[in-house]
Symmetry: C3
Subunit: 142 residues, 3 copies
């Protein structure tokens, strides 16, 4: 459900860093939804293809996220989530001298399938089964 | 209008596969809108840049779509569209042993131009002309 | 805030072109918001990975934008913005014989941080400081 796209300088992250980042992100979502919902795509961008404020920026990490499975019901929940993620990600950004920015969009739940299955609604037995089995299977509720 | 971004393992698709996929997608939209609205971008992602549930996934296809020209007016229409697309895409995903996920976002009609022209509204004479000529031209309605 | 993704043929733009494009885009936003809000990512796409209407298109530029800091309050403002941007970008698209398309999405203000800071609201003293200093700093309003 969340699809994370992380644009980063080519030399910013090792293969191990990327795995650590993906696992840290997954651990946050994984408490309340199936872990396999979490997709993370890394894309190295060279400085001449990456501009901030009209200038090439060789030390910038830009993260764009789509949320699908959950929609935050208040501004307080939104800022709480972003605060938490910002602290989590500081390890691989601010604390390494990288500038960074992140934004999240929310997209329609009904326009989403995994393995051709419509994912279950939040809190249903189907969702519990998807979490327990960590894989998609047919939904039993409408 | 629809912009499809298809992240896939490098060895998953031949040039012919990609063309077949793009044409299959285009054929669905092309019945109700100009074919040239349909953009499809393929991006090969190596396993160390592609994580599902915090683990590298070498056999995963992740599709992210933006819809602009049309907005579904009910949840039933949304799920009907996704069911249809899921069946269509199974040929190049499930049936080849690839795991996969797709989600669609809907974006504002007024924030969209092609060749500098604002695309015509659904059902207008302008849209019929765009479909018949399969190219953009100035809109005659406001 | 605006994140611009520009898919283009590999030979369409020189390094200088890309800088010119990024600066032209930034100059529009920079009058009303901090320049460093503007991120532009260029991605060269080969013809066999880029389909328009189901066919490879070797001369197409596809631009996808996310707006975060500002939401247009009327359709008139939306079309005015798109008209302006379309004219601006014609220099690097239509006038070079490239076909092109652009669309903009609007995403939630509260789901956005820069350097771990929540950006200031429009028109606040904090925003003026961010503009004057062209960098992020803690927000003093709630």
């Amino acid at each position: 459900m969340p699809l994370w796209k992380i644009y980063h300088p080519a030399d910013a992250y090792s293969a191990e860093d990327k795995r650590d980042i993906a696992q840290a992100i997954t651990s946050v979502y994984g408490r309340v939804m199936p872990k396999f919902y979490v997709g993370v795509v890394f894309e190295a961008v060279s400085p001449d293809n990456f501009f901030i404020g009209g200038e090439p920026h060789p030390r910038f990490v830009r993260i764009a996220v789509d949320h699908i499975a959950r929609t935050f019901q208040s501004d307080e929940l939104k800022t709480a989530f972003m605060s938490r993620m910002s602290k989590l990600l500081a390890t691989w950004t601010s604390e390494r001298g990288l500038d960074w920015e992140i934004h999240v969009d929310e997209t329609p739940f009904e326009l989403w399938t995994i393995q051709g299955h419509f994912p279950p609604r939040e809190g249903t037995e189907d969702e519990k089964r998807w979490m327990a089995e960590n894989r998609a299977s047919p939904r039993t509720h409408s």
